[in-house]
């Protein structure tokens, strides 16, 4: 078996096809960590451990086996993501200490986008900042988008949507990304529960000037006090907010802005590819945002989409939600992120002869 580890700063989650465990962060030593994983595996042999890593910067364009060369390279990313990289490095080193005898495979959420074309990758800033400070689009949800790209034949033009805590839209042509909504940081792109999404930079300076915000206060506002929370004033989860749609003007406005931003990126993607053959939708929030997905697809039905009515089949891992005569096919990919990582790990192991 191959347990999948998903680590963010708040908790460490272990996933196997039959089990999901949260918060083993307080485990102090390598022995305890080893015992925990082995007890989860039970009678099954642990063949490898796979990790979902949020950020791989410029260095990691594909899954990696953790070896002694990995750590110094990964440590160099600290400057981009100081909240995450050092603690993740520490966690990976602990796993490496506990499991020297099996492969540890890391999957990065940003690897897929190292192939972005230059015109999508760079911002129109003085070039020395792009080059020296490595300011460019890193993207996100690469694991989901790459899995979606793998579902269609080469040469297809695909819009891939991922509905997770963040929502991202990626245009994929010939299995390569041509555009992605999320940018240098998760502040760019589509608004989320608490983050602002796309913004005119002039607004930042205006707010700082008029309201005397420090850079730290403005950073906090944009990443934790904006989005749905900011527009509605309600600090509630998306699943609860969506139930109040149509009953509260502020909530209606927030969802309208949200949908409009998604539409903008779908349009950008279609334009970048000169058309679209498939739309594939994935992510952990699919069930929550099903009515939004329906509305969005309805709005772009002029492209030649004939969507079937709700409710859709929730049991199939991959379901086609368009009718047979639809020119553009729309699929819902209900595979979970750990399941995708698990499958990719098997492929990786096979290719590397483990």
């Amino acid at each position: 078996m191959i347990p999948v580890i998903d680590y963010n700063l708040k908790d460490l989650r272990i996933w196997t096809p039959s089990l999901f465990i949260k918060n083993i962060e307080e485990m102090q030593d390598d022995d305890a960590l080893r015992k925990c994983i082995l007890s989860i595996a039970g009678k099954n042999k642990v063949r490898a451990i796979a990790f979902r890593i949020l950020f791989g910067g410029d260095y990691f364009n594909k899954p990696q086996i953790i070896n002694s060369n990995f750590f110094p390279q990964f440590g160099k990313l600290t400057i981009f993501f100081p909240f995450y990289i050092p603690s993740t490095l520490d966690m990976l080193q602990r796993f490496r200490g506990a499991f020297r005898d099996i492969p540890l495979i890391v999957f990065f959420e940003t690897s897929f986008f190292l192939n972005l074309p230059d015109e999508e990758k760079y911002y129109a800033l003085p070039f020395e900042y792009n080059k020296n400070s490595k300011i460019k689009k890193f993207g996100f949800h690469g694991i989901f988008h790459e899995a979606n790209a793998g579902m269609v034949p080469s040469g297809s033009r695909t819009i891939s949507l991922v509905f997770d805590k963040q929502t991202t839209v990626c245009a994929i042509y010939n299995k390569r990304p041509l555009s992605i909504s999320l940018g240098y940081t998760p502040l760019e792109g589509i608004m989320s529960g608490r983050a602002c999404g796309d913004l005119d930079p002039g607004i930042v300076f205006y707010l700082m000037n008029v309201h005397n915000f420090s850079i730290y206060e403005i950073d906090e506002m944009l990443k934790n006090k904006s989005g749905f929370k900011g527009l509605t004033g309600y600090d509630i989860e998306l699943k609860d907010m969506i139930k109040m749609r149509g009953k509260d003007a502020k909530i209606d406005l927030a969802f309208n802005v949200y949908e409009s931003q998604i539409m903008k990126y779908i349009g950008e993607g279609v334009a970048a590819m000169g058309g679209v053959d498939n739309i594939i939708i994935a992510g952990s929030n699919i069930n929550i945002v099903t009515p939004i997905i329906y509305t969005l697809i309805k709005k772009i039905s002029f492209l030649g989409i004939n969507i079937i009515r709700l409710p859709w089949d929730k049991d199939k891992e991959i379901s086609n939600i368009t009718s047979e005569e639809s020119k553009i096919k729309v699929y819902i990919n209900r595979k979970s992120l750990p399941a995708i990582i698990l499958r990719e790990s098997e492929v990786f192991m096979r290719n590397k002869n483990y």
Binding site: L9, K10, P82, F83
Partner: protein, 405 residues
Amino acid sequence: MKELLKEKAKGLKANLNKFYKSVENFKLNSANIGEFTDIVAAEMKESSFNKITKDKAGNLIGVIEGYGNKDAVVMVSHIDMRTANQQKLEGLDANGMEGFKSGIVSSVYAGALIKRTLLPLTGDLIICCVPRVECCDFGIQYLFDDFLKSRIKKIKGVILCEPTGFNINLGHKGRMEYEIVVKGRLNRNFLENRGINMLGTMFPLINELEKVSKELPSDFNLGRSGLRIKDVRYSGYQPQDAVSEFRIVVDRVFIPEESESFILNKAKTIAKTVYKQEPDITINTLMAKERVKTYTGLESVSEKEFKPWSMESHQPFAMESLNTLTENGFKSDFGYWKKIVTEGSYTYGQLKIPTIGFGAGSEDAVSSGPNSLTADKTEKAGCGQALIVLRSIGMPTFGWSSDEI
């Protein structure tokens, strides 16, 4: 940031309480200060400080290394102690001057918290416990002349972990001890019109100093200067003695507008005015000195003086520190110590390194017992100090620190 610190602080709570108890229960005196610093050093080691060392003056230094090694922030707490004799007289359980312990615990805790969060620093965090040797700033001087000598220019700021009631303190009055020495010969009718009783000869000067003490200048932030006659000594009170001499020892509290030389000259002028009718006397004023011997065996002679200091509130290190506290829920403001003196006398008063004070409790806590502050308040102070450090030399965490990924 506060949320992350809170999260990580949970796992440290038990350690903090244990450390706090062991420090609180330690009956510190000049004979066992080495053992005391060993306890603090052990806690630094437990918290994975990158470097722990003691210098020859007995300063304990713990370093948390940053990535860039560019700037540094220095946190300073002090160690007060009674002499072993004092402790014997006052009883083992007397609290003495043990309120300083909260500052030591909070500074080590702040370091442990930063280590535990694994939030990277761009420069080094240097946490120092400085034993106060008598009434002078010998310990902190040695620290900056020795361990920190090569990096003085890279120090972005100093945080004094002293009680400030969670405010940012920016200075205090200075304190110096000086002597007025009056010499003459009794057998040549020394001070004859005032009587040959030495005490009687001193009274006019003592009286004049008392008068002067009521008219001393004042500073808007720091308050009024003060003068107290601490001691009088005399020698050669028999007519056959070659020289008769008396000394008045003055404990002087002063504001930055009054320089030491100004104070000494003024004292001399007062004495000359009092004894202007006495032709054969000499009057001198001099700064009191004392022989310092640290527990590590280092000996030196040091002037008994703490310089006054008052840093502008618009100094960036002070502003940023206050901003980070208020943004994270502290109800802090700028303030000044009215009663105590700190190592800021040297770090800002002498070296002009931006210096602030931040800690739990009122300044009265320093001279009270260790129980005057709770572990909770000390923990809160440690969190505040960690926030100040992270704002100052923490790696910026914009954008990607979003909760939304």
